[in-house]
Subunit: 428 residues, 2 copies
């Protein structure tokens, strides 16, 4: 085991550059911990001449990531290009076929093609590790795959998109509407090229699907994640929630139920004084619940050069140490597809609507809710303009189906202006 | 790898019983995750006939743990007896000599004999894993050894004794003095047979020494941990701290400095709204800081049957999967002894004393502090009886030496009744 572990890095953006820095600056420390030197033999990126603030001297260069992935002198292919398909997938498949192990930060690729790639790795006798794909620097893939291996996992929750949490936090702190803070985030460079990946919950949904696969020993199934973004969250919702002791978070929840596997990524109200409620700004938090261990909360930076490179290096060192784990914690060929269950476990809901100010309006709304079997815990009328009154209702626990039924009947009452907003209140 | 992994369990207290339950109740899940069945072949405990609420049917029995540890049919010796020396150490040494891997929850044994045992394991080509020895169910040994392996660790902090945190939390909530809550904790069975292990900080100090060894690649050195228990914390301190926005925690801090390795376990003031400050009751929290990853916070149950058994099982499954890690994350024979450094990095301090009510008293105290180079940030006189006035001072950042010097001079002023209490305010 004193032969160096030779890695090839495809993608020299923020994370790739961070990995190069760690390997260059901490050679002795890494060798001591890994039991052998870690050596970069070659790299690949879109532009060879860009100044990345770190020397690439001594490394081979490949224009084509597939060529890098299949180089004779590469033991581990480190994929940091991103994108579910295209070069990242082609190079990963080529690496596995050529007998390489793979380390990747690519949540989209694994959320969509993870089962296929895991089977390819297993067939080839190689490993795919992806700590950096979920919640940046937080070692949550390791915690779930290894730390909780003796548990039936009962629930996985997480705030795993720092940009969304930044937007929601900033709206509350500055009292600004969604559109303004969205624009601010764009100018700060916090948003993906396609912002819907962030604010539509897709990026966080990818991460949730990966954790769910590990937690429940099922095939990763991103298509079954119920997705709802934060675009509909108004400053009014945030303020009203705060007044009632809640914060709104883009929260992922994966839970195996008698009806199948629930996976949802959606805005939720959580108690302001809970660990999730207290999470401010771009930080990530993952909550793992197991039948033996109870609740484990993990918190840290979900993105950025250092944290993500730290996660990549933990995988590289794991392979250097000789650890060989299956991709999702169990043999890939045995994994079944879980029946997707709609998130229908009863929960209290926050409902906001604008009532047209005429006699009997509230009675009509109450009747619709009552007919759907929904009982009201709290109700508050927040302000009042000439013709409409904003009304907030907190329900007792209600099934999602009952709620949806009520939401369908509300417009017919003729007393609700626009659409009612419904946000689940999560028991964290 | 389809041969079962055969384990022998010594010690059938809370944790041992929990491990037996998991192995019996989750055989299929464990086999799927570990890639092979986990099988208990034999057990050992003080009493064979005690009802433990779980069947031991089908397992061999050994009165002598050394006999268990050396059984031909045992692959992994699971040591859950406790105690730094005696049977636990004898059996662990015997197991390693007989070619077994060892999983243990024994923080005292490893904090004191860890270097020797790690060298024995290394020489024999076997592993010692001890996730359950630190912070119960929180997978912190794994997070630090593996998750942060690409980092220079800059600081490790932790609240790792649930009993102390329970006592401090309960004092604040119920407004009760230390002695009353201590007695309550004893009656609830929260205290070790020797309570000084808990309230004296020894148990938590053992855990800190183990984390420090991993973090800094040095020989575990419990003797170098500066220990201070919670016995001197009064309800007055807790109330005053709360009024200033702080909570008092028994906090462990390990930090490599230019002068050597600081390891201290002592009561500290932390901001009430920080993750550590918000930790209530028996829960544990560990904060890991690395140069790349930034700050990672881990929170969970620090003790109890399920959480601790969960940690033991994570180690057993790791070995079943074929993972072979060095005990402290680097080869044991290369580890050096860090120079112990006194915790002298400047910090603000909380000082509480009782001033004898005579003219010029405060001036004398201020002079002593000023002469030691200590400047005052805030001062408050909390109440007043006939002859003495309790005074609380928060200093600006000051070196511990300067503080100690001032504390030595205070009695000579003739205006301070009893001893002044000094508690460090930790920057978390």
């Amino acid at each position: 085991m004193t032969q160096p572990l030779r890695i090839g890095i495809a993608g020299l953006g923020t994370v790739g550059t961070g990995v190069v820095k760690i390997v260059r600056q901490k050679a002795n420390l890494l060798a001591a911990r890994a039991g052998r030197p870690i050596q970069i033999v070659a790299v690949s990126a879109r532009s060879r001449n860009k100044d990345r603030g770190v020397s690439l001297g001594g490394y081979g260069w490949e224009d084509d990531p597939v060529a890098l992935a299949t180089r004779e002198d590469v033991d581990v292919f480190v994929e940091l290009m991103g994108g579910a398909d295209g070069p990242a997938k082609a190079a990963t498949e080529a690496a596995l076929a050529a007998g390489k192990d793979v380390v990747t930060a690519n949540k989209a690729m694994l959320a969509i093609h993870g089962q296929d790639l895991a089977e390819r790795a297993e067939t080839a006798g190689h490993v795919i590790r992806f700590e950096a794909a979920v919640a940046g620097g937080i070692p949550v893939v390791k915690a779930l795959t290894e730390g909780l291996a003796g548990n039936e996992v009962t629930r996985v929750m997480g705030v795993m998109n720092g940009t969304c949490n930044y937007i929601l936090t900033r709206m509350e702190e500055a009292g600004l509407p969604y559109e303004d803070v969205f624009e601010e985030a764009r100018q700060l460079g916090y948003l993906e090229a396609d912002p819907n990946l962030d604010v539509g919950g897709i990026d966080a949904g990818h991460k949730l699907a990966l954790l769910a696969a590990i937690a429940y020993g099922t095939q990763v199934n991103f298509d079954a994640v119920e997705l709802e973004g934060i675009q509909q969250i108004s400053i009014e919702d945030i303020r009203t929630a705060a007044n009632m002791g809640f914060r709104i978070k883009l929260l992922g929840v994966a839970q195996m139920t008698g009806r199948g596997l629930e996976q949802r990524m959606s805005p939720c109200l959580v108690p302001a004084d809970s660990p999730l409620g207290q999470l401010q700004g771009g930080t990530n938090m993952v909550v793992l619940e197991g039948d033996a261990v109870g609740q484990i909360v993990l918190r840290g930076a979900g993105a950025g050069e250092g944290p993500t490179a730290s996660a990549v290096m933990s995988d590289v060192i794991e392979i250097a140490r000789g650890t060989r784990l299956t991709t999702f914690g169990q043999p890939a060929h045995g994994l079944e597809i879980a029946r997707p269950a709609r998130a229908s476990a009863p929960a209290p809901y926050y409902l906001r609507m604008r009532l047209i100010d005429k006699p009997g309006a509230m009675a009509k709304v109450a009747t619709v809710l009552g007919d759907a079997g929904i009982s009201i815990d709290r109700m508050r009328q927040t302000r009042h303009d000439d013709t409409t009154a904003p009304v907030v209702i907190v329900t007792h626990k209600t099934a999602r189906d009952a709620l949806d039924s009520a939401l369908r009947y509300l417009p017919g009452t003729g007393v609700v202006q626009g659409e009612a907003v419904a946000i689940r209140i999560e028991d964290v």
